[in-house]
Symmetry: C2
């Protein structure tokens, strides 16, 4: 949507809201629809081609308004998570429409998704162990629980361990910054031999420092074999899996108990919207479920409906699936794929500019929209270059450490980025580099 | 703001956003302002009288846009939490402007605030005990930790205990559904004698079932004496404390370590916005702080700035203080007070209608906007009446249990509610009651 259509549609929406508020007394306070009303009114998959704003607003009036906030909010979320799951070709077991035990939920952030998964895994293993040995206290079990992630995993994984009160250990990644099966296996065996209880592994697809990918096809079977909950954090990279040419990066997801990525990062859905799927709903709800009378409703024992409050940390929730519905339909799957592909192409364009310059080196494989690069020189030189770039305030880079190296990260992430911006950015970096090297020679 | 002004201002805002997007290339990617730039540009307190939309938009352009997302997002939040804290007459120790150790933060929900407080308290007591006896493991401490709340507390308190992996015990409330000092003291002594470690108490101001108030002036000193973290959950009632005539309900807050209420419930700020204050910032940040390189910035060791990511469960955050700023200025403190007073007056109007009818009884003291009432009859009769009311879908009531009684709850909570609605609702309830009693006689 360009700015002129945004002006038009935005103003129509303002009127829609004002009309709603002015006419609110004529509306019923509680909807007439029955649980499950929404799914049959909506296609089973996201459209391939873009639809018009009018089409979507017609459906808002016809499909959403009769279902008011509830159950429309819940049911649209379940269907949108199925749409998105199918775009990623997630295994059926993760989709609610399969009629199995799985399904999706929108969390606020990947940090919350990781924490929710860890808590569910903690509850599951505790119950299993107490079933076998009823004399074990929760604390005596928790003392021995260990979670694992690669040494490249996001800080939110360590934080989830802190909050959940369990040990969390970093598995050394390989030369490509990936967690491999052998290193995980070794840690599991060592810890089991020491009397500890491995219960949770976070595999990262698209790490924060350099967008590396843990080896799911190795890690997955090891987790299954060891009866350890496998959570996949693909916060950034997940959006790319809607393109067939990147889907192989998700191979092995079939071994996971839970999978999460952030459409708010790279799929044009506004912050916040973190998509999480589980293979077994009852593992999540088992960790959180409490049912006071003021939250009871007539459908809760029917098995027909989803109570997302048992899937998450907060009780209340916003109607976040609406923005997914709008974005998926306004772009169509093809439009979203084109958006991802353009960003990846632009990052390769930047990569090749860097590679052509003998002063610079590429520090990690460029797979998606992130390019890790640095001056062939000392860390101090690279820190000075970063300082120069960020002080100029024309572009902004966030650094990382890869092993002992201080590395600059060039991320393609704006909705409106074009080749011209990439070219300008590189020219700018080159100029600042020349200045820096000249000053250092003096 | 009425619907016609909303149409005008909403459309201006759409243009403002479109203009911003069209002109974005001319903007700098990183602001020039220094940490602390915002506070001197904004009054120290919320205005008493309403201001105009133009005034606020002028300030957005002048004060917020130069500070972009960061640091404006953080700094406006800190100042808005001070404004709100002063509206409630919170003790200085909770205000960031006092230059002390306290301050406020916006959480997503009261559930998260309770959990964050519990985790902070857990970390604090664990560190204190390990300082004294370094041989103690975290698990051996957690096994003995006990948190407390009244038997009327919200289910999210029990849930926080589940998530935090600690015991949580319900203190029997008194005849007015309030937690009293004696009952708490008794539980603390009994548990200490049994070798347990009391570490956390949640006092509720305005319970969910009947809006009762725990006795802070009794509970507070006991917590201080026992070195137990006192968290106050005033999720609903907190908004009323901006009126001097209700402020006494908050007396004793000076004993608390943390205090929370939801402006999104009753202060005209859209969902979600949960306001939390702590007396000692470092207790929160101590529980969560991790500092990877990709989240480092040049000001973090200066002591000048607030990193809210260490105050909450998620890492990312939305710019939620903007809506507080708009609401506080557009209504002014007097406008917000008038809004609260109107609701309380309407609930008393409903209360007196109920009291005039010999078939009904009031089941708990009416203090704010909630009226608990029931037919003088069996629980089955009241359940049947509720079913009849909610099936008619003209009004919607949520029930509760008070001791053995099934009780109906009439809540005044709409922005546009008037006396006429209350009268209509009561007439409607009376008619359905007559129908019900007639049918039961047959």
């Amino acid at each position: 949507m360009n700015a002129s259509e945004f002006r038009k549609r935005g103003k129509e929406m303002v009127d829609y809201i004002a009309d709603y508020l002015e006419g609110i007394e004529a509306r019923q306070v509680y909807p007439d629809v029955e649980p499950g009303y929404l799914r049959p009114l909506i296609p089973a998959s996201a459209p391939q081609e873009p639809e018009t704003f009018e089409d979507i607003m017609t459906d808002v009036e016809k499909i959403i308004m009769p279902g008011a906030a509830s159950p429309a909010c819940t049911e649209l979320e379940t269907v949108m998570m199925d749409w998105l799951g199918k775009m990623l070709e997630l295994p059926e077991a993760f989709l609610a429409e399969s009629g199995g035990e799985g399904g999706g939920v929108i969390q606020g952030s990947a940090s919350e998704a990781t924490l929710v998964a860890l808590l569910a895994a903690r509850t599951k293993v505790t119950r299993q162990l107490q079933m076998a040995s009823p004399e074990l206290s929760q604390a005596s079990i928790m003392e021995k629980l260990v979670a694992y992630s690669s040494d490249q995993a996001h800080s939110s994984v360590e934080r989830a361990g802190l909050i959940g009160g369990v040990k969390i250990k970093a598995i050394p990644s390989d030369g490509k910054f990936a967690m491999r099966g052998s290193a995980l296996q070794e840690a599991l065996e060592r810890d089991k031999a020491a009397g500890l209880i491995p219960f949770f592994v976070v595999a990262t697809l698209g790490t924060t420092p350099c967008c590396s990918f843990d080896n799911l096809l190795e890690v997955g079977p090891i987790c299954t074999e060891a009866n350890v909950w496998l959570h996949i954090d693909a916060a950034y990279a997940g959006s790319a899996f809607i393109c067939p040419e990147f889907r192989h990066l998700l191979n092995g997801v079939e071994f996971a108990d839970s999978f999460n990525f952030n459409p708010h990062k790279w799929l044009l859905v506004n912050f916040d919207c973190s998509a999480m799927w589980v293979k077994k709903r009852s593992s999540l709800t088992g960790a959180f479920k409490l049912d006071p009378l003021y939250l009871k409703h007539s459908h809760q024992d029917s098995g027909l409906i989803t109570d997302y409050r048992h899937w998450q940390l907060p009780l209340g929730r916003r109607f976040r699936s609406l923005k997914m519905w709008f974005v998926f339909r306004m772009y169509g799957v093809k439009g979203l794929q084109a958006y991802i592909r353009k960003h990846v192409q632009l990052s390769h364009e930047f990569e090749s500019l860097v590679r052509q310059d003998p002063c610079f080196e590429i520090c990690a494989e460029v797979t998606l929209g992130l390019v890790c690069f640095r001056l062939k020189g000392t860390n101090e030189q690279n820190e000075a270059l970063l300082e120069k770039i960020n002080s100029a305030k024309k572009i902004h880079l966030v650094p990382c450490h890869l092993r002992e190296k201080f590395v600059l990260r060039f991320a393609i992430c704006s909705r409106t980025v074009e080749s011209a911006h990439v070219q300008q950015a590189w020219k700018h970096i080159r100029e600042l580099t020349t200045e820096l090297l000249r000053a250092q020679k003096k």
